[in-house]
């Protein structure tokens, strides 16, 4: 139980709670505010994931702009507390709740098993979770593949690649090179903790303006279109201030 874990769990609890409030609070204003809170918490979580710029962008764009928009709209409409129950009992409601619950279960399940099912995924062995504390422990076969993964010391971790082809070291470095070339990450990023340079704005922007430059442009065009569309939709005949 390290500081990171503590942070994660507290953040997680906050995020989930605020999300639940968003959905189950009958007052739209509260929903919006809680959503802003949830987003900010996620932004903080991004900081712990070394995604500094993304985190900041998350807070600026979502919490700072989008949600403000929501809040303003809600306040302008002056939407009061909704009269009808959110969870009034009916078969349809039941079906909806069940569906959502099932979805959650499935997603979590696929999350736990699916990740480990990914073949040749170096990340599993690089994950900082493989600390000595866990390595001593005996394994109960709860989630076998996870356990395997946890057992492997960094050297064994190379095995999957080694299996693929001959000499582990060379191949690993080769794969390394390949990954670095296409991901513009720096070698330290391999070693669990030392992600200082990784996720820095430079690397991010490099990839954003080289590999994804077309997507970038396309999205900007989309944004423009959305703005024009929004204005066209929202304004009423007699100018923007006249309410028909």
């Amino acid at each position: 139980m390290t500081v990171e874990d503590l942070l994660f769990h507290s953040f997680a609890v906050m995020a989930v709670l605020s999300a639940l409030f968003v959905v189950f609070n009958r007052n739209p204003v509260y929903s919006a505010l809680f959503l802003a809170l949830c987003m900010s918490v996620l932004g903080a979580m991004f900081f712990t994931l070394n995604a500094y710029f993304v985190a900041v962008a998350q807070i600026t764009v979502y919490a700072g702009a989008v949600m403000v928009l929501f809040v303003m709209v809600v306040m302008l409409f002056d939407l009061k507390r909704e009269a009808e129950e959110i969870l009034k009992f009916s078969p349809v409601t039941l079906a909806k709740v069940l569906a959502a619950a099932l979805l959650c279960g499935f997603l979590v399940g696929t999350g736990w098993l699916g990740v480990t099912a990914v073949k040749g995924n170096l990340a599993l062995h690089l994950a900082p979770s493989a600390t000595a504390a866990d390595l001593e422990k005996p394994i109960d076969g709860k989630i076998p593949r996870m356990e395997e993964k946890k057992e492997t010391s960094p050297d064994e971790a190379r095995e999957p690649l080694a299996k693929v082809s001959g000499n582990p070291d060379e191949d690993l470095t080769a794969a390394e090179e390949a990954r670095l070339v296409e991901n513009a990450t720096v070698p330290e990023s391999r070693v669990g903790g030392g992600l200082e340079e990784f996720g820095s704005t430079v690397t991010l922007s490099r990839v954003l303006f080289s590999k994804f430059v077309f997507a970038f442009e396309a999205v900007s065009a989309l944004l423009l279109v959305a703005i024009v569309g929004a204005v066209a939709l929202a304004r009423s005949k007699g100018g923007t201030h006249h309410v028909s």
Partner: protein
């Protein structure tokens, strides 16, 4: 100028003319001079290109006389690989000269002829389209492309025959032509398939490279292919049994009859056979069939022609019989001769059609020769030019028709594929030709005038007479390129074609050739004089004869009731059968099945419609269900 550009212009200028007149149809209909000018210019341009190309060919050595251009790969599926390629060689060179040359003359003529018509632009656009398709037909370097042109000219002929479609008869005539042609085209396609399956290619040059050993027996692949192709030819070139459409095709405007149904399109069959001569010589059976069909058609059509009274009908039947001659020629392995006759016939028959056209024009639409007579004074130019045509077709020595016809007859007599019998048939047909042509002359230009008082006969304008004169000259000198050897002057045409066509060498001494020539000339001369005696000197005699032999007269006058027979044997049963199918099979089985299916679909839709009730959140729920199912699938694996 490099050849591929030339050929492109040659092909595309008529097409462009078609587009212009086609898109500006409303605008150009008001002014037939504009429309005609555009069309004629287009034709003229491509004629110039044709001339240049021919000169290019002449400058080349005799062996490699061919310009082959490939623009792009048109379609390639599996082993079939068709290029958009065009091939100018001696054969197609002559063809394009005829097509564009005679074509542009006829365009010029039409400017005058259609002056009173309401839709000149439509007419000229069709005419240009026809030129384009015909050029594609003759220039295409493979069978597929040729077939495209083949269909294209069929379409244009349909459109032009039914040009005055307000008159149901004419529309029907167009349809008849189209349908009859379809039968032939089916044969053509079968032949095409056979060739492709057998030799794996449809390129003429590829096929020419192969060596064909003459096939004995009926059902060798080559025989089959050539036979099928010949069926196509009978359709397009109006041979027995598919000739019936051509006489009706005279419903179209006269220039059309001249261009399409005398000079160019109907000769497509001959052209195709000449083009593939190397293959046809390898199939003796087919050659026999062709020769006999040709001879039979020549005789049969000529005999019908004897008693027709519609000037265009007479010319139509004469065309059929002349085409029969050509087939007789190629049938006995005299491809050169057949092709030669094609050329000369193009000249004089076009001339005569145009002359007839100007007569009709002058007579204000009158076509019955029994209502004419003594027009020589009224329209001198037409008369003089028509005279040239007459002399040429009856085979007056040193006129174009004389050389080509006698070449064919001599080959029919002498070639190993031919026989005395075929020759006799040919001679008799020649005699008949002479007879009915002279009859036409007598009743139209000579004798006493039987013209109604109301009709104001006038000579045609210059735009119409100029082409007449040009063609008159051509039908005189046109034959001098193929003078037989016995005159000891070089036979230019033979030399021009020698590397392209492989004639079956005729054996026979020169006195035999003199003899045949004299015989045919004598027969023709006698027949002509007889006709002149009957119809010019004492016109009462034919009537008495008709009274004597009524049955025969009616039989021939009604064209041996061929159309009626076809109607009874093929058309009616077909109509009955299809009516029965409609009444029982279609209504009872097909319709019910489809109704059932549609009801099924409707019912399901009505059921599912309840799901789509506009409640967006329910839609979202469906999405979630979908996701769940797919996740479950992943999970289960």
């Amino acid at each position: 100028m490099n050849p591929d550009l030339l050929i492109a212009i040659l092909l595309l200028s008529p097409f462009l003319g078609f587009l212009i007149n086609g898109f500006l149809v409303k605008y150009n209909n008001k002014n037939n001079l504009r429309a005609g000018g555009i069309a004629t210019a287009a034709a003229g341009i491509s004629f110039l290109c044709a001339l240049i190309l021919t000169f290019k060919l002449m400058t080349m050595g005799a062996e490699e006389r061919a310009i082959h251009v490939v623009y792009f790969n048109w379609l390639s599926t599996g082993t079939l690989n068709v290029n958009m390629g065009f091939n100018v060689d001696p054969i197609s060179a002559i063809m394009i000269l005829i097509i564009t040359g005679v074509g542009s003359l006829i365009h010029l003529y039409s400017v005058g002829y259609m002056s009173h018509d309401a839709h000149p632009a439509k007419f000229f656009s069709y005419l240009n389209l026809f030129l384009f398709n015909m050029l594609v037909l003759v220039l295409g370097d493979n069978l597929i492309l040729m077939f495209v042109g083949w269909e294209g000219v069929g379409l244009c002929s349909y459109l032009l025959i039914g040009f005055w479609f307000e008159d149901p008869e004419k529309a029907a005539a167009g349809m008849k032509a189209f349908l009859v042609n379809r039968i032939g085209d089916a044969g053509f396609l079968l032949g095409l398939f056979t060739i492709f399956v057998t030799f794996g290619t449809v390129e003429f040059t590829e096929l020419a490279k192969m060596t064909f050993s003459p096939e004995i027996g009926a059902w060798g692949p080559v025989t089959l292919a050539t036979a099928c192709l010949f069926i196509g030819a009978t359709g397009k070139s109006a041979q027995i049994p598919l000739y019936v459409w051509l006489p009706d095709a005279m419903a179209g405007p006269t220039p059309v009859s001249a261009l399409i149904h005398a000079a160019t399109m109907v000769t497509a069959g001959i052209y195709m056979i000449v083009r593939l001569n190397f293959m046809f010589v390898a199939a003796p059976t087919t050659m026999h069939i062709i020769a006999s069909v040709g001879a039979a058609t020549a005789l049969f059509a000529a005999s019908i022609g004897l008693l027709q009274t519609d000037i265009k009908k007479i010319l139509a039947y004469s065309t059929v019989s002349q085409l029969g001659y050509m087939f007789l020629g190629v049938g006995v392995g005299a491809f050169g001769a057949g092709f030669f006759h094609l050329m000369t016939h193009a000249f004089f028959k076009a001339l005569m059609f145009l002359g007839a056209g100007s007569v009709i024009h002058g007579m204000g639409g009158e076509q019955d020769i029994t209502r004419m007579g003594a027009l020589a004074k009224k329209m001198p130019i037409t008369y003089k030019t028509f005279l040239f045509g007459w002399l040429a077709i009856i085979g007056t020595p040193f006129f174009s028709g004389f050389f080509s016809k006698d070449e064919i007859l001599w080959r029919a007599y002498s070639s190993p594929l031919g026989s005395k019998f075929l020759w006799i048939v040919g001679v008799v047909a020649a005699g008949m030709t002479a007879f009915y042509m002279t009859r036409l002359m007598c009743l139209t230009f000579w004798g006493t005038s039987r013209v109604d008082k109301g009709i104001k006969v006038h000579e045609a304008p210059l735009t119409m007479t100029a082409p007449l004169m040009t063609l008159a000259v051509l039908s005189l000198v046109g034959g001098w390129v193929g003078v037989p050897h016995i005159f000891h002057v070089p036979n230019l045409l033979e030399g021009w074609l020698e590397h392209m066509v492989h004639d079956v060498t005729a054996e026979g001494s020169s006195w035999e050739e003199w003899m045949t020539m004299l015989v045919s000339v004598a027969v023709a001369g006698f027949a002509a004089f007889f006709a002149y005696y009957l119809y010019a000197l004492n016109p009462e005699m034919p009537k008495t004869w008709v009274r004597k032999a009524k049955g025969l007269y009616h039989l021939i006058y009604n064209k041996y009731f061929v159309d009626e027979i076809y109607g009874w044997v093929f058309v009616r049963p077909l109509v009955q059968l299809s009516r029965g199918l409609w009444a029982y099979l279609d209504v009872r089985v097909v319709d019910r099945t489809t109704y059932f299916l549609s009801d099924l679909v409707k019912g399901t839709g009505a059921g599912l419609r309840l799901m789509v009730n506009g409640n967006t959140q329910q839609y979202a729920l469906y999405i979630v269900f979908g996701v769940l199912v797919s996740l479950a699938f992943i999970f289960a694996r």
